[in-house]
């Protein structure tokens, strides 16, 4: 986790543009003004200090103990960084550890205020498509394994290869073309119908907006999950307890779904961690095509606009989500399968 923060900070540090350029992008600013801004932002400080400021904030680096707005004590950085003869105002950054992700260069608003609604939008899309992926992928995988070599198996295998080779942004475009442009059945993008009041109806009131992006994202999941489930199920079917169950004279359906599928589904628990990274990557493309106001599209826009605080926030959120996913996976794994115990 620390590694990710260091890595993403380094990348941003190397990036062209930067905060000073973004805040003073006006021909009327003089060189002296630029330098004052730079000093106040602390971009002239050594890299490790800048990193610490971003991670932990700078209110403990330069503080104001008597409340007159002028700092009277400092640690690691100079009291008078802009060298105008007066002590600078105290540090006001809290650092990402305490939820202060800085201000967007582009929107001039704190990033944490803008990120919430976008996380919700991405969650809505991601959770729906993952749910549909599981709902379809798992049974398809089981059926394909049960009837191994049959027409259903061959059909789903071919389809799953087709769907993993198709570029999802192209699939999205083609779907928009067919359903939005030619048939006028479904909206061509966005999350909500545009209304004057600006409100957004609950999810079930705008399913038609959800349909295409969810299909594009879920198609990939169905392909991956059904292949995974098929392999896992084939593995389970050769186990002794399956043969025992069959020989007890149980109906084949009962054996497959009660004895087989339950055991075959266990490895799915490990799927959640990687699934989250995959979802976020897929979301970046899908959201861009369908103008879905989510995290992925936000990141793409921020990268294009060189809005680094936003980019870093999205990366950190993605990484936290992924790590949470892995942790939950491990816990689920132990809960589902009593044979696994962490020592």
């Amino acid at each position: 986790m620390l590694g990710i923060t260091v890595l993403s900070y380094l990348l941003m540090y190397l990036a062209p543009g930067g905060p000073v350029a973004a805040l003073t992008f006006s021909p009327s600013t003089t060189v002296a003004q630029r330098e004052r801004v730079a000093a106040q932002l602390g971009v002239n400080d050594p890299l490790p200090i800048q990193y610490l400021r971003w991670l932990l904030g700078d209110d403990w680096m330069r503080w104001d103990s008597n409340g007159d707005g002028i700092s009277d004590g400092s640690f690691l950085i100079a009291l008078d960084a802009n060298a105008d003869g007066e002590n600078d105002p105290p540090g006001n950054r809290l650092g990402i550890i305490r939820g202060d992700f800085g201000r967007s260069f582009f929107y001039r608003r704190p990033v944490q205020d803008m990120i919430g609604e976008r996380v919700a939008a991405t969650f809505e899309l991601g959770a729906t498509s993952l749910f549909i992926g599981l709902l379809l992928g798992v049974p398809i995988g089981i059926l394909a394994a049960v009837r191994k070599g049959g027409w259903f198996d061959n059909f789903t295998r071919v389809t799953s290869v087709l769907f993993s080779a198709i570029p999802i942004f192209w699939l999205g475009l083609i779907l928009i073309l067919i359903f939005g442009s030619w048939l006028h059945l479904l909206p061509m993008g966005s999350r909500c119908p545009s209304t004057l009041s600006g409100g957004c109806p609950p999810m079930w009131g705008r399913l038609e907006y959800l349909l295409l992006p969810t299909f594009v994202l879920a198609a990939g999941w169905v392909a991956v999950l059904s292949r995974y489930m098929r392999a896992s199920m084939l593995d389970v079917m050769s186990q002794d307890y399956m043969r025992t169950a069959h020989s007890k004279g149980l109906a084949a359906r009962v054996v497959w779904f009660k004895h087989g599928a339950r055991n075959a589904a266990i490895p799915l628990a490990t799927f959640l961690g990687p699934a989250i990274t995959g979802l976020l990557s897929g979301a970046a493309i899908t959201e861009t095509i369908f103008s879905w106001p989510g995290l992925g599209r936000f990141a793409v826009e921020a990268v294009t606009a060189q809005d680094y605080p936003v980019v870093m926030t999205v990366v950190i959120i993605g990484a936290v989500a992924t790590i949470l996913g892995y942790v939950v996976s491990d816990i689920l794994y132990a809960v589902i399968d009593p044979r696994i115990r962490f020592d």
Partner: protein, 302 residues
Amino acid sequence: MTASVARLQGTDEAKKTGLSLTTLAIRRLRRDNLTLFAMSVLVILILTSFLGAPILSETLGVSYTKTQADKTFLTPGSYPHLMGTDDLGRDHLMRLLYAGQVSLSVGFIAATLAISIGVSLGVVTGYYGGVIDDIVNWMIATLNSIPSLFLLLIVAAVLRPSPVTLVLILGFLGWTGTTRLVRGETLSIREREYVISARAIGASPLRIMFVHIMPNLFSVIVITLAIDIGGIILTEAALSFLGLGILPPTPSWGNMLTDAQTFFTKGVYLVIAPGLLIFITVLCLYVVGDGLRDAFDPTAKD
């Protein structure tokens, strides 16, 4: 696991015929019509985009860069613009072919780079273990916990890539899967009797890695290469589509779609053709990868 043990010990068939696994694999591959078909489609695609493009450009007298204000959105089937023209009146077929050169080279070179890094790191970490292993594993864990496309987006935005830097970026960020795979294989090969005996007669670690371990990884490498090229072509297309990969005016299948998206209703073929080419290429590569896996599978019976 069973597969790798069987491969290392040689199959019954290999023992019976005395042929190497590679010879057997090639023999099996010759009978696999689907894989052969996919291979030939790939070869045709490569030949037409690299050799066919300049020849066609000469004979038809069309160019992929020349803009013609009076001939925009010509539909396919017109002469000499066989596939029509785009929004600026450039010949669409030529652009598709030249974009193919870019997309295919990026895919092949970046995948080769990624595989080279992946295999060397995998063999070294698998063979030595210890601190190197820990460091590399930490790097893999860090890289894997950032959604890969986000990471690529950032790096691409920071470096504003030319095709060459794009290849480097894709190569240097795409090795983690291969490393894990190769590391696992190396761990099991390392404990084989012939490696132990090589060490006993004083072979240097470098010799053991190159002469005793690498040849056993051949099938893994070839299979991963085919699939990785496909994956990288898809990634490159996605990046270019988002405006951060190959930048116009250099055509690539991905960035051709960005332009085409704007002209949905005027030129449907502009949307369909580049995506279809990506799809066919990647599909063929996956089929070839799958076919190679079956061909190299030592448990397969003829």
